[in-house]
């Protein structure tokens, strides 16, 4: 809250949820109300003072339903928190109210070949630990796997480590089902399957409260982390595309970082030689020789090849913790003067536009590419590290990219619409919200198309 007294009956709410764990220490509440929005200087200014009034920590779904029902009863805004690893304030309460922390909703409902179902608060490392025990793993996960919860990933994420072959979270088949509670005085529990899942996923919790998530699994491969160093950035970029298109080489991750981004990766000094552009990859053990031949074709030198460490063993950093949003994080740890962009390059001529941007911006917009399957084809997105000057300059850069055919899911705003969700999914979300959140209490302010009726 912004220091003004809430317009709702918090005392009544506390009474209604008595017996359920709550956190009301303002400092702790504020801490829980934050994610990684501070990557963006713009969001940092806008969201820094936002906080919930109260955190409620249900220990099971019955308690969660009580906590949700009471929000509807007292007309108090409600935001759901998973691991708090979003990057644009997905979970930051804009209008105070209740933050529902799913940390204790972490039961496994089932784990079987091909699929698993967990409560929303289950941690991703824990999910993979259980899946790997039967020879399977999550198809994709964010670079924040150690901290993230499955509910947060599907509500706030889009793709990740694994998308190099298995596509996006929103592709049919990635998330076969979710269980969602409506935000009503007597919440209903809805099991969504198939296309209906899109009403609740990647909606930042604006359309319903995700209680359980069913995810598709993939068989686990013996993955190896690898680094390839290149003299020429475009060689590295072409290597990324070629590796993506090499159907005989099984991979889970392909990231390409232009120098000087690797200069920030202190722990990878030997793998990332001074002045070299690098590719970070995860490759199936059996395909090493083919991978190295492809690197050599592109004038790359393989500087690291080692088994991907198990996250449950402390002390080792998997290569994916230098990929996706971790690239930006690793840079920010050292240099507070940078921020980032999220860009989808135009499919089919992605490398052409990448080259244009690389030549145009130099070190102002340092290219970090992520190669992935989109609609069956290999394309790259980018999470460029941007040398921050002013908001005006940032938007100039964004408009320039858009003029070249790129799509910018803008990470400097907190609304869904600015991320450019596909219209179909957006419509589905809006329709579902009308049904599941009649009072407009869920994460208010994030879905701009919502208007109270």
């Amino acid at each position: 809250m912004d220091g003004t007294a809430p317009a709702y009956d918090l005392a009544g709410y506390r009474k209604a949820v008595s017996g359920i764990d709550i956190v009301d220490d303002p400092q702790l509440v504020r801490l829980k109300s934050r994610d990684f929005f501070w990557y963006s200087p713009i969001l940092k200014a806008e969201l820094n003072r936002k906080s919930a009034d109260l955190v409620v920590v249900p220990k099971d779904q019955d308690e969660a339903l009580r906590a949700i029902g009471a929000c509807a009863q007292f007309r108090i805004p409600l935001v759901v928190r998973g691991g708090g690893t979003g990057n644009y304030g997905q979970l930051v309460p804009l209008k105070g109210g209740i933050l529902l922390d799913t940390a204790k909703l972490d039961r496994a409902l089932f784990v079987r070949p091909g699929a698993a179902r967990f409560e929303a608060g289950a941690n991703l490392v824990e999910i993979d630990k259980q899946a790997r025990a039967i020879g399977w793993e999550m198809r994709m996960h964010p670079s924040t796997k150690r901290m993230s919860a499955i509910g947060g990933f599907v509500a706030g994420g889009a793709a990740g480590v694994g998308s190099a072959m298995l596509g996006q979270l929103r592709d049919w088949g990635s998330i076969p089902g979710v269980r969602v509670a409506t935000c009503e005085a007597v919440p209903r529990v809805l099991d969504l399957r198939g296309r209906d899942v899109a009403g609740a996923t990647h909606a930042y919790g604006t359309t319903g409260i995700i209680l359980e998530v069913e995810i598709a699994l993939a068989p686990v491969w013996p993955w190896f982390d690898s680094v390839v160093a290149f003299d020429d950035f475009m060689d590295a970029a072409r290597f990324g595309q070629a590796l993506g298109e090499a159907d005989g080489i099984v991979k889970k991750e392909i990231a390409v970082c232009a120098w000087p981004i690797p200069a920030w990766f202190k722990a990878l000094k030997t793998e990332c030689p001074e002045g070299k552009h690098v590719a970070f990859c995860m490759i199936a053990e059996s395909d090493r020789a083919a991978y190295e031949a492809l690197a050599a074709d592109h004038e790359g030198r393989v500087t690291a090849w080692r088994p991907t460490p198990d996250e449950t063993v402390p002390g080792e950093t998997p290569i994916y913790e230098y990929c996706w949003n971790h690239t930006t994080l690793q840079a920010l740890k050292v240099d507070k003067g940078v921020t980032y962009l999220q860009t989808v390059f135009p499919i089919g001529r992605n490398l052409e536009v990448v080259e244009k941007m690389y030549r145009h911006y130099g070190d102002e917009v340092m290219l970090h590419l992520e190669f992935q399957r989109r609609f069956g084809r290999v394309n790259n997105s980018a999470l460029q590290v941007v040398r921050w000057t002013t908001k005006e300059r940032l938007y100039e850069i964004i408009r320039h990219h858009e003029a070249e055919g790129c799509i910018i899911p803008n990470p400097h705003t907190y609304t869904l619409e600015d991320k450019g969700p596909k219209v179909v999914a957006g419509d589905r979300q809006l329709a579902f919200k009308r049904h599941a959140d009649p009072h407009g209490l869920l994460n208010p302010g994030k879905m701009t198309r919502w208007t109270p009726q």
Binding site: W172, G173, R373, F375, G376, R377
Partner: protein, 471 residues
């Protein structure tokens, strides 16, 4: 009218066979004529052209080595006596890959059928192991072939690598020509003193799909895939092009894990006797193998969205008493099922190059109608979803067959001609400098599967038409 080069006239190879048999002792051999003839055949008779050309070509002696040392012994004896040597797996090729054109020894590799090792998805295996037996040993350990031909129940791994190109699973892992799947090959040369040569990396392409003209493969090192649980199913559509668009959409649905996508028009599907109870008269189908669980669930939505109906569904992809595994209605088995009913049918092998492949399919489909019933196989080719055609052809004359081929090629659809026994005119396209040089080193007397490599006959590297699209 002969549009296709003729083979040499059939003739036994003249040599002192008794002396040869004595020299290779104790290697097992068979010279009983009916058996030798049987072991000199493959499915060349799919093609009326090859049927006429190769019908009387046989080997003289079948030799069955049980290990590498025996192969070396036979190879050395053949080199010293200049006896032609044709290597054979199960003989499931379709264009005479394993048929001797100059008599001589047929080297039957099926006694070399051992798995040497399996570690982290890398399989070392002898060439004569049947694919079904190979997977029976690897699947319990969580690994399966990245792709296999429709002849999985009979073909050998060595025969597949030496004579095949892609198959069930190519929608995920591409074709043999792609880097990765074939890690290394150990071959025996045919010289007076044979050498053992290990080819790794890109060098394996000197031997892959070369019909055994470039050395005798005695051990293969191939990358496997993690095994999924698969389900077989068939989607039925009102309209063939709707089935093709569905197949393309499924191919591009990254989160629906699949192993096989084969749209088959009614003109071909009508021959599928065992599937008749499930098929709808007149409707094209798509034969599918999809991962059990979430992928299958999402597939049903996708089928419905494209106006299709799931008419058959079965957990598992191994078949049962009533219906064989559905891959036995795909790839070259589609043609076989039709030939069981109608012996006048033959077929084509076509690439419909992306990204315009769906339009090209439509154009050919409309142009030829029921004369060329369309059967497509969706695959990943150089990272993009594309499709091959293994269309049936209602055969009339060689002239008309040639016309049909020419029309496809004139419209930008290269034909991997299944009516020729020549490597370069079929899928291989090119015998480049390195392959030609390797042939000279590994088979200096030209004894390995003679007559199949145009480059050898012409004493220079060669390229067929469409050299840029190779199998």
């Amino acid at each position: 009218m002969n549009f296709w080069p003729e083979p040499p006239a059939p003739a036994p190879h003249a040599t002192d066979w008794d002396a040869f048999k004595a020299e290779i002792a104790p290697v097992a051999w068979v010279d009983e004529q009916s058996l030798v003839r049987q072991k000199s055949r493959d499915f060349y008779w799919y093609s009326p052209i090859l049927k006429r050309q190769l019908n009387k070509h046989f080997g003289d002696l079948v030799v069955m080595p049980k290990d590498e040392a025996e192969v070396v012994k036979v190879a050395g004896a053949c080199a010293r006596r200049r006896i032609p040597l044709t290597v054979r797996g199960a003989g499931t090729g379709n264009y005479g890959q394993a048929m001797p054109l100059a008599g001589g020894v047929v080297l039957d590799m099926t006694a070399m059928d051992r798995i040497v090792s399996l570690s982290a998805g890398a399989l070392k295996v002898q060439p004569g192991l049947k694919l079904i037996d190979l997977e029976a040993q690897t699947i319990p350990q969580g690994w399966e072939l990245r792709f296999h031909p429709s002849t999985r129940r009979t073909a050998t791994i060595g025969g597949f690598i030496a004579g095949g190109s892609g198959g069930v699973g190519s929608i995920n892992y591409g074709v043999l020509r792609d880097r990765g799947t074939v890690r290394s090959l150990r071959v025996v040369t045919v010289e007076e003193t044979p050498r053992l040569v290990t080819l790794s990396g890109d060098d394996v392409q000197k031997v892959v799909h070369a019909y055994g003209t470039n050395g005798i493969v005695v051990e293969l090192d191939i990358a496997l895939a993690r095994a999924w649980q698969w389900s077989d199913c068939i989607a039925s559509f009102k309209d063939f092009m709707a089935s093709v668009r569905f197949a393309q959409a499924l191919g591009e649905s990254d989160a629906i894990v699949k192993k096989e996508i084969a749209p088959i028009d009614w003109g071909a599907a009508k021959y599928f006797k065992q599937l008749a109870p499930y098929l709808r008269e007149g409707e094209p189908i798509v034969v599918l193998t999809v991962a059990t669980g979430p992928s299958m669930e999402a597939l049903k939505d996708l089928v419905a969205e494209h106006g299709g109906t799931l008419v058959y569904e079965r957990d598992g992809a191994e078949g049962d008493d009533a219906v064989p595994p559905l891959y036995e209605f795909t790839w070259n088995h589609t043609t076989l099922q039709a030939l069981k009913v109608d012996r006048t049918i033959t077929y084509l092998q076509t690439l419909f190059p992306p990204p315009d492949h769906v339009n090209l399919v439509e154009k050919m489909w409309k142009h030829f109608g029921d004369e060329v019933p369309v059967h497509l196989e969706f695959v990943r080719l150089q990272g993009k979803v594309a499709c091959f055609g293994l269309q049936l052809v209602r055969y009339t004359t060689p002239e008309r067959l040639k016309e049909i081929i020419d029309f496809h090629e004139a419209n930008g659809c290269p034909i991997f001609d299944p009516h020729t026994f020549l490597l370069e005119d079929g899928g291989m396209r090119v015998v480049d400098e390195s392959q030609y040089e390797f042939k000279r080193a590994a088979d200096p007397y030209g004894l390995l599967n003679p007559g199949k490599m145009r480059a050898w006959a012409e004493r220079t590297p060669t390229a067929g038409k469409w050299a840029e699209v190779r199998l």
